[in-house]
């Protein structure tokens, strides 16, 4: 059935004032077996009570190191993992309770760009079929398939003549442009970018970041930009949330968080970043390794590595505190 200008399924959601995405106390736990033959299972709290919200035409950068749960969080919003608890509202509707069919409909508004541009493109489909597949599915094709595909390619800075080529014929940066073209083809409200520029060389990475920014300006998109790279995130996100072992430890406006980090982990992350041209940082500020999410330390998860750890941090989990322009999860500010 053709559904041009499909009615807003939420009905009462107001893009100008309401949050596009609201995540409240989201928990995603995995049960894994302890050993091959052991009957015992253990619970991995990949995401452990995360809340944030995102408005239209805004970008939230989700930063953290490997194993912090940032990717799991993104996948859950897409319906690729199952949440254990919590609530997610997207366009005013609860996202977690949607049936498969409803979720399929919702995907028109919620798209994704993954890290590896090649493995997310079907090698047997040409570019035209790749970028118009969703359009055909939702009956949103304008003009012929060729015309629409050419428009999309032009929009992401690819040669319009390339519509009959296959993914392997492109370079890494071009492939990511194809992924982006597919993601924007349905004019979604939100695109989840999971390490979308991490595999690209610096000069190409800058091109793709610029493309994402330009597309946002034209289409008033929102991005949930998941990345380990604070430098990249700080150039693309209006708001930043820093994750450590399944929790958001600090969140606020990018300029404030980068300029004046409050949480000791954010401070460590920024100090560890090698910045060309600046005085070499004293790496002594960094100690320890991220513990396994299967066996996080009690109290504040960061306390074994924290230079400012106090007695209370060892046994009591810090609450989220509102601090001037941000939220921080740290006993120092309680």
């Amino acid at each position: 059935m053709r559904k041009k200008n499909a009615p807003n399924p939420a009905g009462k959601w107001d893009p100008a004032n309401d949050f596009l995405l609201e995540v409240s106390d989201l928990k995603i736990w995995f049960e894994t077996k302890k050993g091959l033959f052991s009957g015992k299972s253990q619970r991995i709290r990949a995401v452990d009570g995360v809340s944030f919200s995102l408005k239209q035409n805004q970008t939230l950068g989700l930063v953290g190191e490997s194993g912090c749960g940032k990717t799991t969080l993104g996948r859950t919003l897409l319906g690729l993992e199952t949440a254990s608890a919590g609530d997610v509202r997207f366009r005013g509707r609860p996202l977690l309770d949607l049936s498969r069919k409803q979720m399929d409909q919702m995907r028109r508004h919620l798209q994704v760009v993954f890290q590896d541009p090649l493995s997310s493109l079907n090698p047997r489909m040409n570019v035209m079929d790749i970028v118009t597949e969703g359009l055909e599915r939702f009956g949103m094709l304008q003009g012929t398939k060729q015309e629409h595909a050419r428009r999309l390619l032009a929009e992401v800075g690819l040669d319009k003549a390339m519509i009959y080529r296959f993914p392997h014929e492109f370079s890494g940066g071009q492939r990511q442009r194809i992924n982006i073209a597919r993601a924007v083809s349905l004019r979604p409200d939100l695109i989840i970018c999971d390490e979308a520029v991490s595999a690209l060389d610096v000069s190409i990475q800058a091109q793709v970041i610029n493309l994402l920014l330009t597309l946002q300006e034209t289409h008033h998109l929102s991005y949930l930009f998941i990345s380990h790279d604070l430098g990249v995130v700080s150039n693309i996100a209006d708001q930043v949330a820093v994750m450590y072992l399944g929790r958001i430890v600090e969140a606020g406006a990018t300029a404030q968080i980068i300029g004046e980090p409050c949480h000791p982990y954010t401070q460590m992350l920024i100090a560890a970043l090698p910045v060309a041209g600046q005085k070499r940082a004293e790496s002594a500020q960094v100690k320890g390794e991220t513990p396994s999410p299967a066996d996080p330390p009690p109290g504040c998860h960061f306390h074994p590595r924290c230079p400012k750890a106090m007695e209370v941090c060892r046994h009591t989990e810090p609450d989220q505190t509102r601090l001037r322009d941000r939220t921080v999860c740290c006993h120092l500010y309680a």
Binding site: I204, A206, G231, S234, I258, P274, V275, E289
Partner: protein
């Protein structure tokens, strides 16, 4: 300063289905004793192949070292008998790779792998070798080194595996360590610790040849830098000069494209276009199609590396005394 290793006109080719690729095309440089030299460039520029070529670690076929000399302490490594070269590798010249898990044997315990390397190059009793290896695990900051000797690589975290690699690379007091993207697979906080450790361990006794795509890493670790683009060296300078006054338009573009810590949406200065295919390098300067300062001469003639300052060379007609006239 005396050169520990000097490379002259190194060229390496690979045979592929589509034709012969010249991955390294006439590269010359020197590593001085005790210095830390960085080699930066984007994927496919030939930086890793250059590093592997120094100790002939290029699989042949499909690879082939076409020309050049690699003078290391008075010996040409490219002509050395395999037996003699083995005595150099892992002893006088050691390597740290990006993925410790694929560089370490998955089937042998850490301790065995370390003691084997010691036994290969030095006469030492098994017990003494074990003790020596264990002391190095401690030095590189592996907690509980004694029991870790009996661990298999997969039982360690990525950061710990890389520490084992570093112990292996440094324990025999090499003259040169070649590190190819040693921290690219690691988190930044782990990277900072690994770098602090490499710096401390080397203490100017050992030369470091660090291959990376990350300008920030070069800045942290190196005294001097080589920039490669499309199989060739386009610029070389000491670290301060390179960052303060990059001479080649590619280097300038690369610096501008690095996302700096900023506060929100910020269009970056990118380098338009993409790296030409090694199967189809253009005549003249290989950066011409992406260069903001391109002019006629760049399209027909190859710019050679010329001196443009103290210890500073660039392969661009703009730095030529005659400005390419």
């Amino acid at each position: 300063m005396k050169a520990l290793l000097s490379v002259d006109n190194l060229a390496i080719e690979f045979a592929t289905d589509e034709g012969v690729i010249r991955a390294v095309d006439g590269v010359s440089f020197a590593i001085r004793a005790g210095e830390s030299l960085g080699l930066v460039g984007e994927s496919g520029c030939g930086k890793s192949v250059t590093a592997l070529g120094l100790t002939r670690l290029i699989a042949s076929p499909p690879g082939r070292i076409v020309s050049g000399t690699v003078d290391f302490d008075g010996r040409d490594l490219l002509q050395l008998h395999t037996r003699d070269l083995r005595a150099v590798r892992g002893n006088e010249i050691t390597m740290i790779f990006q993925e410790p898990l694929s560089a370490l044997s998955p089937l042998h315990r850490i301790g065995r792998q370390l003691t084997e390397a010691i036994g290969f190059h030095h006469r030492m009793s098994k017990k003494a070798a074990r003790q020596y290896a264990e002391s190095w695990l401690q030095k590189v900051g592996i907690p509980d080194a004694k029991s870790r000797m009996d661990a298999y690589p997969f039982q360690l975290s990525g950061g710990m595996q890389q520490r084992v690699m570093i112990a292996m690379a440094l324990m025999l007091s090499p003259k040169l360590v070649i590190a190819d993207e040693p921290t690219t697979a690691l988190d930044v906080t782990t990277q900072a610790q690994i770098f602090a450790m490499i710096r401390e361990m080397m203490q100017n006794q050992t030369s470091l040849f660090l291959i990376t795509h990350d300008m920030g890493v070069v800045w942290e670790m190196c005294d001097r830098v080589i920039v490669m683009y499309a199989s060739r060296i386009v610029e070389t300078a000491d670290i301060e000069t390179l960052f303060a006054a990059p001479a080649h338009p590619y280097t300038r573009g690369l610096m501008a494209a690095i996302p700096k810590l900023a506060g929100g949406r910020n269009h970056l200065t990118d380098i338009p276009g993409q790296v030409p295919s090694p199967l189809d390098y253009p005549a003249g300067c290989r950066f011409q199609d992406r260069c903001p300062d391109v002019f006629d001469r760049c399209r027909t003639q190859d710019p050679a590396l010329v001196t443009c300052g103290k210890d500073h060379m660039a392969a661009c007609f703009l730095v030529y005394p005659d400005k390419g006239a």
